[in-house]
């Protein structure tokens, strides 16, 4: 069937690109301390893009039962014509994609969740417990008329477990991931979560005004989302980015470095969804803006080469249903460089301030301008270098471009969040509202 698609595509257009994906996932959810749902997915798909005479069109299908329907959909789209200043990738070098581990099955996931809940129950009897355990297996193949034929298989298992606060899903959680076997929550981590849960029982007023805020890795999505927009080739070409034209300028304190690093971590990629080889792309190094990231389309618009960031996903939603998405420049592997001190040392160093564990509403507001105003989910108040209680009904606000020069330092432990691999980041001069 694939050969027939290629034959039809070659007849219909000058250039073509095929993206094939198979996905298997199992999601297990425990709520209120008990097993509630197990949902599984087995999806495959193939996306075709055709190019001819500076025009491009695409289509996708779940199964290749009818190559004619797939190619006809793309041909119709091509006739209407998206503009493309470039064709699809030519043969670069064959590289070996990551070999996937064995994806965990439902029984293993349930056992890992039950074990995590028991550890949390032992640490704090009677608390409201939540756990989500999932496994994912994904194969990707990209072919182009120019000779690209790249494949990889990815496997990953995730566990998120912790205490929900009374009245809802805000709480304190730990996220763990592996390349196959279900992650296990150890007793020490359960103990740390229990101490935070205990501290959350005391509500204290927000220290309103400007002051230090320690953003824990998950809360850094408020920064990541805006910087991903600001360093995107698309917004730079379209003059929407405040960073446009500032390569080489000092835009942050020297304690801040941000790169897109596709070769580390669990979802490592050696080629993007357009078949372009990937490489580490420095964005900000020791406070200096180093560059931007591009897919093939926006690289051509900027007169540059693709940096290998053409993905069929959105930031924060990696490894989703890629065939259904259009290719766009996406920094799938953002990484903030860690510093030297531990989280506890940073809390002691900040004296009086706020620890923001996670943020809600990070996708709201004037993102192109760098503004954010996020809810606390949750946040703790620090006084005399110690956590003294939890803030209710507060917000943390600022502008990332104003705050980057006020980054004090990064923590020494990196966590793999949905938006990238981040350490904790201590930032001064952040507005807290209560």
């Amino acid at each position: 069937m694939l050969d027939r698609v290629i034959e039809l595509a070659s007849a219909a257009a000058d250039d073509w690109e095929l993206f094939l994906e198979e996905r298997a996932a199992t999601d297990v959810a425990f709520r209120a301390g008990e097993l509630r749902t197990i949902d599984a997915v087995r999806l495959s798909g193939v996306a075709l893009r055709l190019a001819r005479g500076g025009r491009m069109g695409g289509s996708y299908a779940r199964e290749l039962r009818s190559p004619e329907t797939l190619v006809e959909g793309a041909r119709r789209a091509l006739a209407a014509g998206a503009e493309t200043p470039t064709g699809f990738a030519g043969r670069a070098s064959y590289q070996v994609g990551r070999v996937a581990g064995r994806p965990a099955g439902g029984e293993e996931l349930v056992a890992a969740g039950e074990e995590a809940l028991q550890r949390l129950r032992d640490a704090t009897p009677g608390a409201d417990l939540v756990a989500y355990v999932s496994s994912r297996h994904r194969t990707v193949r990209v072919l182009t008329r120019g000779g690209v034929d790249e494949r990889l298989a990815l496997a990953r298992a995730d566990l998120v477990a912790g205490y929900a606060f009374p009245g809802g899903s805000t709480g304190v959680y730990q996220a763990l991931a592996t390349d196959g076997a279900a992650p296990r929550l150890d007793a020490a981590t359960a103990g740390l979560l229990a101490r935070l849960h205990a501290a959350a029982g005391r509500t204290v007023p927000a220290p309103t005004g400007l002051g230090p805020v320690l953003f824990l890795p998950r809360a850094l999505k408020a920064f990541a989302w805006r910087l991903a927009v600001g360093t995107c080739g698309r917004t730079v070409v379209r003059r929407e980015s405040p960073l446009a034209g500032r390569v080489g300028a000092l835009v942050a304190s020297r304690a801040f470095s941000l790169a897109d690093d596709p070769h580390g971590g669990l979802d490592a990629r050696v080629f993007d969804d357009e078949g372009t080889p990937t490489a580490r792309t420095p964005l900000v190094e020791d406070g200096t803006l180093r560059g931007f990231y591009y897919d093939r389309f926006w690289a051509a618009q900027a007169g540059q080469a693709s940096t290998g960031h053409g993905y069929r996903d959105e930031l924060g939603y990696g490894a989703g249903d890629a065939v259904a998405h259009a290719v766009a420049p996406v920094p799938q592997h953002l990484a903030i460089a860690p510093g030297r001190r531990t989280l506890e040392e940073l809390v002691r160093a900040m004296g009086r301030g706020v620890v923001l564990v996670d943020a809600i509403g990070a996708h709201s507001g004037n993102i192109p301008n760098g503004d954010f105003a996020v809810g606390m989910a949750p946040a703790f108040v620090v006084e005399g270098g110690e956590i003294v209680g939890r803030v209710r009904d507060g917000m943390v606000a600022g502008n990332v471009y104003d705050l980057l020069p006020r980054v004090v330092e990064a923590g020494n432990v990196v966590e793999a969040t949905r938006f990238g691999r981040f350490p904790a980041l201590l930032v001064d001069g952040v507005r807290v509202t209560g």
Binding site: L35, G57, G73, D128, R239, D393, R431
Partner: protein, 453 residues
């Protein structure tokens, strides 16, 4: 299709199973200013199977019919694991056999792709003509979901849902300041509502430019009037999600706080979900469990009166079935979702609300929102200072945040003019729902936390 689904269900050895097939026809156009950056035309399909066995209820989604038999075995194995933890029962629902198709105001399939591209380019041109507008990002989408549902109880439902949208952002820039305003038109009525809407894009483009001269909002607590869209987002995000029984049931303390009969809001506040209304995007006849949707009074004069349910949550909580188990498409099992949630209108005009407000903010239109339990944060697009009951200057760059319970008790007055948004958007778990829509009149809220810069 029904015969194929029934044949497979007949092979499943379980007290209950259901199987949903969906065919999704989709056309998309994406544009960066006047340049078309993507055109796609797709036809896809898939299946979702749910099996109740040994007291557990598990689901599996597959894209290939050839995988269905193996999928049934896996779902049964997962159901057994679930049954070890707790026994699931499903609320009784009448066996139905119906096919539902709606007349459209212009079928998007009958509109040439070239015409869709021309319309996107035209609206981009309208926006780009405004002073200081530097870019637009607009996208067009039409989606036709043809759903076929069969259950071992004998229900057989076919329903077709068509959704169109033309949405995006208009960006103005001056020096280092960037302002972006979202705009969206469309709905469930067909292609016709997308035509002749220049005024929407011209007005939003003018606003994007004007916001470059607006003042940022200083962070703090304010008395505010929320416009219908922002009031609707508040209703959806801050209250609606907590009315979804699968969320309420997940937290024993939240369920206790949200007990039917609890006085949660002020007397002026009544909230309803009504997906039976044919004039709003959220309309449907049957949910993805084959249950007819019904109008649900969620809050009446501040008192909690109802909740949205699936068959599973209805049985567990012993509350009436409502028909709100809805999936994004064939890739997902259904979750409890709002259809068309809205605040029932009161009597005050907008001018009367502003006069009653005195000094504060009038906040307009929405820019995304999120909840975490009872806590919520969402963005507004623009607003005005209000002094002595009169609008006194444009303001920009703010989010609002708070706690659901405290905010429901801070709603002081509700306006008379009920407005439903044309476009829906709701994320829950990994699923989007492009048809879940919101409505409200303007409302006056005291002491809301507004986060600016």
């Amino acid at each position: 299709m029904l015969a194929q689904l029934k044949a497979l269900l007949a092979k499943i050895d379980a007290p209950y199973a259901d199987l949903r097939h969906e065919r999704v026809e989709e056309c998309t156009v994406a544009a960066a200013s006047r340049s078309i950056t993507g055109v796609s035309s797709n036809v896809t399909e898939g299946y979702v199977l749910r099996v109740l066995k040994d007291g557990g209820f598990a689901s599996i989604a597959v894209s290939s019919a050839s995988e269905l038999e193996h999928a049934a075995q896996l779902a049964a194995a997962h159901a057994r694991l679930l049954g070890r933890a707790r026994q699931t029962t499903l609320a009784a629902t009448p066996v139905v056999r119906e096919s539902v198709r709606r007349a459209l105001a212009e079928d998007p399939r009958a509109v040439d792709l070239e015409e869709k591209l021309a319309l996107v380019r035209h609206y981009a041109g309208v926006a780009l003509a405004a002073p200081r507008v530097v870019a637009t990002s607009l996208s067009y989408q039409d989606v036709r979901r043809t759903k076929t549902f069969a259950s071992t109880e004998g229900s057989e439902v076919e329903e077709e849902l068509v959704t169109t949208s033309l949405r995006g952002a208009i960006t103005a820039r001056e020096g280092g300041l960037v302002q972006s305003v979202r705009c969206s038109i469309g709905g469930g009525a067909g292609f016709a509502p997308l035509r002749g809407r220049d005024a929407v894009f011209a007005e939003r483009a003018r606003l994007a430019g004007d916001l470059l001269d607006a003042e940022p909002v200083a962070s703090g607590a304010y008395d505010v009037v929320l416009d219908p869209v922002l009031a609707g987002v508040f209703t959806h995000e801050a209250f609606g999600h907590s009315s979804e029984a699968d969320i309420a049931e997940a937290s024993p303390t939240q369920l206790a706080a949200m007990r039917i009969g609890a006085e949660l809001g002020t007397e002026v506040l009544s909230i309803t979900d009504d997906a039976t209304r044919r004039d709003v995007l959220g309309h449907y006849r049957y949910d993805d469990e084959g249950v007819p949707v019904r109008r649900v009074e969620l809050m009446r004069q501040g008192v909690l009166t109802g909740r949205l349910h699936s068959r599973q949550t209805s049985a567990r909580l012993g509350e009436p079935l409502t028909g709100h188990a809805v999936a994004e498409d064939y890739r997902f099992a259904p979750l409890v979702r709002m259809g068309a949630i809205f605040i029932e209108p009161g009597t005050a005009s907008l001018d009367e609300l502003l006069a009653r407000l005195g000094d504060g903010l009038y906040l307009v239109s929405a820019k995304g929102g999120q909840t975490a339990g009872a806590e919520f944060t969402f963005g507004g697009q623009w607003g005005f200072r209000v002094r002595g009951g009169r609008l006194a200057g444009l303001v920009r760059d703010f989010n609002i945040s708070g706690n659901m319970y405290r905010t429901l008790r801070s709603v002081e007055a509700v306006g008379a003019d009920l407005f439903f948004d044309e476009i829906g958007a709701c994320g829950k778990g990994a699923q989007a729902n492009i048809r879940s829509t919101i409505g409200a009149p303007p409302v006056l809220v005291r002491g809301l936390v507004v986060g600016g810069t």
